[in-house]
């Protein structure tokens, strides 16, 4: 094995053998290899008790013993989940193929043949102990990373509007607000937010950093600090995006960028004004002129140079009527790019029908049926982060 040899001085070994001479000579061999913490047992039953009491890192186990033989002891050990990974080295004088196979069937990690050859014995003991240590290190590493990722995930979730906040904003502005957020791994690169700008205006932002995972997630934290630096109050959405773009260009390495939608809904004049930077086409719905008819639904143009790619980027404002009973549906590209085996991805053009279908199933809260039908056709885990936000003005 590569790397410096593991010191065996802090390893504990249990020797189980009914023959005193064997116990002593085995102890002598492994003591010379630096193992000093050694315990003994004289049969399988004593051995099991010694494992629980002594907590060895490895067991050297004889096969033929009174009361309980080595195979039976090993089988009993493996039935206990705590000892599934404990290395058990059989020492056996039985050299038939069948007997040796029996050692592995009983759950043994390896065996050494009697009479014991000191060099081979130490090499096999060392190999098993090193494997155990590596396994332990990896398990500890994995546990630590998972713990840290789940903390980070909680932090990321805290950047997004909570349900209570959604309800508050919805009531204040006479809206229906529903949102869905799912990352493709522990962390993701999507972000969205609601920004009250006085009693009649509400800012809506959705940003999707290229890629996903930890790098993209770090960018959402960067974004969150930048947003507070640029007040939205007295600025057109295009100007605000241009400021955000310049700031992101300063911090993002080449190749990392974000798509974005930033709009301001003005209730006093029933108008949505927005600027976009390459986000998927938002869906705008307006109540039909004829009472009782289905709403007019269309995709909005959201082309624009992605954020953080060039300092010179400029954005364009568009205004659309969004009266009572109208709605806006925003989503990240996972909605249209992720698919399954039977159905391919939804694709941009199918989104209006996808929304109509959702509305047919739940007129007030179509987001849930939309997500149900998305997940029904899509392979999990998602290949990209999914965010979807439904904003409707109450009729």
């Amino acid at each position: 094995m590569a790397g410096p040899a593991l010191s065996l001085s802090d390893c504990r070994v249990l020797i189980v053998d009914d023959n005193e001479f064997n116990r002593k000579s085995l102890a002598l061999v492994i003591r010379r290899a630096g193992i000093t913490d050694i315990a003994f047992a004289e049969n399988g039953r004593e051995g099991l008790a010694a494992v629980d009491r002594f907590r060895p890192d490895l067991v050297l186990l004889d096969v033929d013993m009174p009361v309980m033989n080595g195979w039976e002891m090993c089988e009993a050990l493996r039935r206990n989940a705590t000892h599934l990974e404990l290395p058990v080295l059989f020492q056996t004088a039985l050299d038939s193929d069948e007997e040796q196979v029996r050692c592995f069937e009983a759950g043994g990690s390896d065996f050494i043949s009697k009479p014991i050859k000191p060099g081979e014995c130490v090499a096999r003991v060392r190999h098993q102990l090193e494997k155990r240590k590596l396994y332990g290190d990896l398990a500890a590493f994995r546990e630590r990373v998972q713990r840290e990722l789940s903390h980070a995930r909680a932090m990321q979730t805290s950047l997004l509007p909570e349900n209570r906040r959604l309800a508050e904003v919805a009531d204040r502005y006479g809206l229906t607000l529903d949102a869905h957020f799912e990352t493709s791994s522990e962390l993701g690169g999507d972000f969205w937010g609601l920004y009250p700008l006085g009693d009649r205006r509400l800012g809506l932002l959705m940003v999707d950093f290229a890629g996903h995972g930890i790098t993209a997630a770090i960018n959402t934290f960067r974004l969150h600090t930048l947003i507070d630096r640029f007040p939205m109050q007295h600025m057109a959405p295009s100007q605000w995006l241009a400021q955000l773009n310049a700031a992101l260009k300063d911090v993002l390495p080449t190749g990392q960028f974000a798509t974005a939608f930033f709009g301001i809904l003005d209730l006093a004049i029933d108008t949505l004004t927005f600027a976009a930077a390459g986000s998927p086409n938002p869906v705008l719905g307006t109540p039909s002129a004829t009472r009782g008819n289905a709403p007019d639904i269309r995709l909005l143009d959201s082309a624009g140079l992605v954020l953080g790619a060039s300092r010179r980027a400029q954005y364009v404002d568009q205004s659309h009527r969004l009266p009572r009973g109208g709605f806006l549906f925003l989503y990240s590209d996972a909605l249209i790019e992720c698919g399954g085996e039977e159905c391919g991805p939804l694709g941009q053009d199918a989104v209006p029908d996808f929304v109509r279908d959702g509305l047919a199933r739940d007129r007030q809260h179509p987001l849930r049926p939309m997500m149900d039908s998305f997940y029904a056709r899509t392979n999990l885990p998602l290949r990209d982060d999914l965010t979807a936000v439904w904003v409707a003005r109450r009729a």
Partner: protein, 104 residues
């Protein structure tokens, strides 16, 4: 994503096929490595032929931006040629034509 390279006169042409996405990050260094020998042998144009590319995601667009910058650093002109279908749509939506030369 797979790519094939041919050298013609003053240009190196890289023909991309399949899907260019998040999981292809390790293939970009293979294209960047060609820039040094190109600059040394006086080939000043890098043409990315995308007519056989079926799909590009946002990470793939990011790779184009990286290639563009690397090419500029080598004083090589990068051209994206023939994106079609969804690929063309994605490139247009992200307005990459403001930074990268796109030819039909």
């Amino acid at each position: 994503m797979d790519f094939k390279t041919t050298n013609t006169g003053d240009a190196t042409e890289v023909r991309l096929a399949g899907r260019l996405e998040f999981t292809d990050h390790d293939k970009i260094p293979g294209i960047i490595e060609m820039l040094d020998p190109m600059a040394q042998t006086g080939r000043r144009r890098l043409v990315l032929d995308m007519s056989a590319l079926e799909f590009i995601d946002s990470a793939g667009l990011g790779m184009l931006l990286i290639l563009q910058e690397e090419a500029e650093n080598h004083e090589i002109k990068m051209v994206v040629r023939g994106p079609a279908g969804d690929v063309r749509r994605s490139i247009e939506l992200a307005r990459l034509s403001e930074i990268i030369t796109i030819e039909p």
